[in-house]
Symmetry: D2
Subunit: 503 residues, 4 copies
């Protein structure tokens, strides 16, 4: 049976999917490969904000204590902060600030997280912490203007509910950190946006307690934030892990939780940001490199905007060093792109979303249909996935009747799947070279381009009949544009070789 797509939009397609994207630690943004990747992502996808850890970690060098005249002083230095934010703005993206981790000169302990050793202990001086926050925000406003900085959400710390990220997962200490930070920020300028508690899945109970805390003490809060992942425990192999995967609907459920928890309370109307999400939370799980990942996340991108104000894919690039420097071009990194800008299938899922129109025509369990102001109708469709890794299903079919103006439509279909637009498959066939030669990189970049097909389709009764058969783990974008026929009356294909006049 063919689904009939309505001719009138039911609303606008939310762009919560592009509000923010994740990144490796702050100072990685100084790298050229990082900036090359971000430039590509911005050209073809176009995120609004970017969020990562480590703004206050030693690699950015903001907090710089020194002795002078026999006393301790602190210089706040913005050499690298400026280089990063300048680069972001030049690339058309703005920070989603995350305040953390602890500068070692201000830390109260030595516990660190990650290969790059982010210190996760509370400050040794709350006053010096507040001065650090104040100096940083003041500098940003001075350099970039208040109009801009007030558009940048400011999140306090990352996943304080986990012992790895906040010493002892000490909730009271986090509340204190949040309160001091939020009050300092508002003291710099009341229009700045601050939020938290940036919790990981598995500690949902932190959210209502955070809401109670800020309400009870009248602490400023402009948004709530949490993370969402669906993978099970890590099974280790050298330089990698494997994990089981829950159903993708689990991500949407996690998205929905916060608003449900806040319902009826004083924070019910605040924006909710999913400041990290992905299938697996590990930067070395090969699932991120697969077409499975794209097909798995497609319904999440299609629907997530109904549930939250943003959900930020963790992360745009494999330039990421939490478990060390990657030893292979494909290594299971979070990135939409590998080092050197090879596009993964999930990259194309995002690039396809970026080509959707803003008028929402319909949404189904395996498709999303929109139209833009020029009359171009776009269909995003995806094959269902089996998280148990069952045998491949025969071609999944999506059948639609799509409203298009005019007498015929130009159809352009772009696809990625296990075979199509899949550099990882090509790389496997190449023998999985860890350090590909420049020519191999070129081939991989080409292999990563979606397979594109085009055709002229008749419009009958205002509708185009579309029968899409999807390959294993395929995500496909169909664009239907009304044709204005400019073929001159004398055109005759048969005359191409000069022969037809005689017929």
């Amino acid at each position: 049976m063919r689904n009939l797509v309505p001719g009138e939009p039911s609303g606008r397609l939310s762009d919560a999917w592009r509000f923010c994207v994740g990144t490796g630690r702050f100072d990685l943004a100084l790298r050229r490969d990082y900036q090359d990747s971000l430039a590509l992502v911005q050209r073809e996808i176009g995120f609004r904000h970017i969020r990562g850890h480590g703004l206050f970690s030693d690699g950015v060098g903001v907090h710089r204590p020194y002795e002078y005249g026999g006393e301790r002083h602190v210089r706040h230095s913005f050499t690298y902060l400026d280089q990063v934010v300048d680069a972001y703005l030049e690339l058309g993206i703005e920070p989603f600030l995350e305040l953390g981790f602890m500068p070692s000169g201000l830390a109260s302990g030595e516990q660190t997280v990650f290969w790059w050793r982010g210190n996760v202990t509370p400050p040794s001086s709350w006053q010096e912490w507040a001065e650090l926050v104040r100096a940083t925000l003041t500098h940003l406003i001075d350099r970039y203007g208040l109009d801009r900085v007030r558009r940048w959400p400011i999140e306090v710390w990352n996943e304080p509910n986990l012992k790895d990220f906040w010493q002892g997962a000490d909730e009271a200490a986090y509340h204190r950190l949040y309160e001091i930070t939020a009050r300092t920020i508002k003291d710099v300028d009341a229009s700045l946006q601050v939020g938290g508690p940036s919790i990981s899945p598995g500690s949902d109970e932190w959210m209502p307690r955070f809401a109670d805390f800020v309400t009870a003490r009248d602490v400023p809060v402009d948004f709530l934030s949490r993370h969402a992942y669906t993978s099970g425990p890590a099974q280790h192999v050298p330089f990698g892990v494997h994990q089981t995967m829950g159903p993708a609907s689990g991500l949407l459920e996690q998205f929905a939780t916060t608003r449900r928890q806040l319902a009826g309370g004083p924070l019910a109307e605040l924006p909710v940001h999913i400041t990290e999400f992905n299938s697996s939370y590990r930067p070395d799980n090969p699932v991120h490199d697969t077409a499975f990942n794209a097909a798995y996340l497609a319904p999440v991108l299609a629907e997530g905007g109904e549930l939250v104000d943003s959900f930020s894919y963790w992360t745009f690039s494999d330039m990421f060093e939490e478990v060390g420097i990657p030893t292979s071009i494909f290594h299971g990194g979070f990135g939409l792109l590998t080092h050197r800008q090879i596009k993964k299938p999930t990259y194309h899922l995002y690039a396809f979303m970026a080509r959707m129109g803003d008028q929402l025509l319909t949404r189904g369990e395996d498709h999303l249909v929109t139209r833009d102001s020029g009359g171009r109708v776009t269909v995003l469709a995806w094959a269902p996935v089996d998280v148990t890794g069952g045998p491949a299903v025969a071609g999944h079919t999506v059948r639609l009747a799509v409203p298009v103006q005019g007498g015929s439509a130009f159809m352009l279909r772009s696809s990625v799947s296990e075979e199509m637009g899949n550099a990882w498959t090509a790389w496997s066939e190449m023998g999985r070279p860890r350090s590909p030669h420049p020519k191999q990189l070129d081939i991989l970049r080409e292999a990563a381009e979606p397979v594109r097909r085009h055709r002229s389709l008749p419009v009958t009764g205002g509708m185009v009949e579309l029968d899409l058969t999807l390959d294993r783990h395929e995500v496909t974008l169909v664009e239907l544009s009304p044709v204005v026929d400019e073929t001159p009356p004398w055109w005759d294909d048969r005359r191409l070789l000069g022969l037809a006049e005689s017929t």
Copy 2:
């Protein structure tokens, strides 16, 4: 039956196919679209020289007579000449100089050729012509150095055997022009290379008479040149023509003619340059835009280097105005590229040639096989064409056994055909928009990329068995690279979703 490709090369693949490429009139090289196209061509193909008409025509502004002190003087001005040659060198290509047409201030008559009115009459003063030649060469040497300029062949005039190009097709006058020019050039520097007679097909008898003339009078000559085309008379439609087409072997026969004519004579050892060739000689014949044209010319590119020292495709870009300014993005222009850099199938034929290795393994009627120093074996194959436009033949098959090192090969196959990598087909489906919107241009550029497929193939007994089925008018490039397998011992695809440990 499978053709067995030998493991040892029989020689080197000639690069006569890339020695030179044609261009529209000289001053078109000032244009940005032209330079953007040439940059692309040089990046992906890489020609050595470029040749076009009009160096001395008014649009370049070299010959500038003026009155001073009551007398006629001539200023030789190189404002645009320098801009063009600077741009060429910056793009990694060097001129193949063609001296002509006549500046209007030096012309003896008013006959012109083309929409842009190139004057085709002899000089009113042979001395002033010689001074023009001398001043131009002297300036080029001064600016670019003798080492460089002596690599640039210098051809005297274009197709003097045709009345449209040389008033009255006056052979004696051409011989005089040639002699004065050649002697002047050698007087500037004896190491400069000069040649002619640059004749079009249909006047083969000019060649032996030219040889006799220069021999008899001991006129300097460093190479011989002629043109080759295989199309019949023009059947006009508005803004275009259709023509019948002779077999492609006719081009190879035309290539071979000059050397045959010179055999045994004193010029027998001189280089022979085909300074123009194509299927049709008309800049408004849609055949140039088709996959037919690529498949038609494939055997010519594969074999032409056995017959001549160069054969120059006429032309690299549709930026060309001999019959006026094109009124449509596709209009049957000579170009490998349209305006705005949409690649035609013949572009890819050249790009495929540019990826061939320099060791020639074998050549057949529908294929060419080479290897490079890294062990990559490349197969160029093409479907046979029917110049009578007969019904499409079912898939043509090329079956080869190809020698490759190692245990398996990574195969990358790139194809263009009626359907694949064919922007003209996409454009037809779009309704043939004459002035495509920017987004349509993007789609056309994408549609023009070859379809690429990849696979891992086993090497058995040192050989890969290759069965290539070709679509209508397909030209395909197969690249086979030995695989070095770096897959680690712990890799198990089945564990991707974390499930396989239990099995």
Copy 3:
């Protein structure tokens, strides 16, 4: 005596000076050197609109008559029009459309103007002209959107009051052309802006008659336009002319004339555009290359915006061919830039204007003072010129007391004059090479940079005392920025070589 600059602005500095700039004929915009120059101009100056001749001339190829089925048809073709406008928009500038000259296929006669032969006769068919106008505007709206195109003023023809530009300088025929054109444009969309009569100096009486004509017949008109030049008759030398020059105030008087003529009438409130102005109206008068030209025009730029809505410098680049292809890098062209982007002094006058703030503090006969929102105060000052070429005056002095915040000011002074920032002087010293070598071009580009000096100045009583001594034909920009002193307390210049501790 020192002029006291007020601390509060008297208004905003008009940006009429940057509303529009002139260009050589429309299709020259296809050239790379042209686009390189425009890119530079836009980066450092930033004009809003660009206006030139020849949109409908044969070199753009819009009007294309053909026979089919035994009848005459016209195809309207936008191949080059689109390339040009796409390039303009990409470079951040929009067209100021001038409709003209006559396509040869639509012309009623053979009279042409310029080396490039623009046909200046009325149309042979008024209906076909109207269709040409309609098709062009419709296409532009279709491609670029109505919101954009309605910002582009549309001027009907150029200088119809001169026999060289409009056959017979036939005023009635121009009125007819205007009426048909204006009505056609408004029929395409009533919000499009149309105007005329684009007259040259010396026929001021055309303006009131034009006003009467459109008023009497209720012909649409959205703006009035005319030109302004101050040079006398041409004294010819080979490849150039010399002319006497009236005082620069003559330009301001010409600017003022139109509004004075319209005062009290129904068109009194309409915008007035000076769609061309310069000192000399000749493209081969070396005065354009000099510092004299910059100093001469400085008061015009400083004050012109009080009199008209725009005044468009004729032209931004020497890529211009009205009297033929230039034979020398410096040749007296109109350009702010020569070919290959050597900046002339007048370029810097414009670049200095682009660095002025938007708050007007004061204006005098030899200076203009502004401030921007960041507190930076800018002084543009210029030496008076003597159009009789009298002997050089000793250094002219401008003495100001300028209000600046804080305790000290960082002063940056940039100057061009006969000696400073003057590539023409350097080129003369080089021996006036007509075709400079690449290294000479580099030197000329460097020589063309303003001489920049900087200093710290004390602020006393809120004021900085500024004593500027100006060289012959100097134009100078002084920027005064409040200093925030971050020098640390331990800094001691004397310790640089490690020696001062002992003192």
Copy 4:
């Protein structure tokens, strides 16, 4: 008295000064600011090789031990190594490899050097070290080709004579490290070039002992290396140091030492590379930012090539983190360029050297004169410095008679000094902003351009008389080019304003 410069060259100017340049640690080359700086340096100076520390440190991630099957394995990973070397080659520079420091997974102890913690202990396994060296060289040859890699000198470790850089400054252990490394390298390919001992000043006795060691045991050695600095002990202030400075001749003496030590021995003919030199060895001494530094080093660059095969300025960029992340744009870093590409005076000393000809005409204590093949004569001159910081000397004068062809010369003079081309002075006047705004950066970049003056000078008796008065700490480049006068006979400056015809 005027020095008479000879008309015939006495030899070629050595380019030892550009053979190599220093850099911060290896992985900093991943940064965009670093690459932007290197691109600028290569465009305007053009070094051949680049050398820095940390190739084997953890930040590059080459040595990666892991457990598998119950055993320890090592993966050699080249993810970042390839990114860096690819970038170098793309920028036209090749590595001068320095093998060190110790990967933490291979270290025998925990001693580290620098803020970024380079481990300076011997390997825990000499075999694993040898495998690391072998794998790295093998990979480089595989990826870049033996022809290239054999041009890259390979130095074993850095300054092993200092306890900070090599645990215990253990000479025997260094000899062992050198022997194992050198034998491994030669085992990979005998044509690779290996050398040492890379000692700092103050341990000259290491050199003969190293020579004895390699000679006695027949250990491969292709070159000798050491460092040279002339500064005294550090006097600390917050974020910086001051040091006294020995005379610049001390650098030349250090250069000369090695060859003197080797004289008469079996290594006497080997190349000697000064793999680091500068005035101060501290990355936070403001002397590096000054004109003093340029004038101080000018005679060293002019003469150093007579003494050694290369001397490598330490370093090209302030992107350098040995004492932490710089807290201010100017901070006394080694760089020729600051972050964000502000040129220091010493940058221009190098850029001036890059404009010298290859024919050496003469050399004096305050000048160097060369000529190139085009007849351009260049004079590099410098003011003498007083390392005791004595009061400024009145203008130093250099008077030369310089041989130039033709009747006149075009002189271009470019200068940097305390006032000219000195961004540091401008920055001081600005109030020393640590994090300059983008517009301040623009001003600083402009302020950093040399002051350029030009003039036409008469050639009398084949000579130009040159009187150069130098400012405090000035370094100046004078270029004299023969003038070919193309001024037309009708040119008359006095006619510019159209008036002179009457005179």
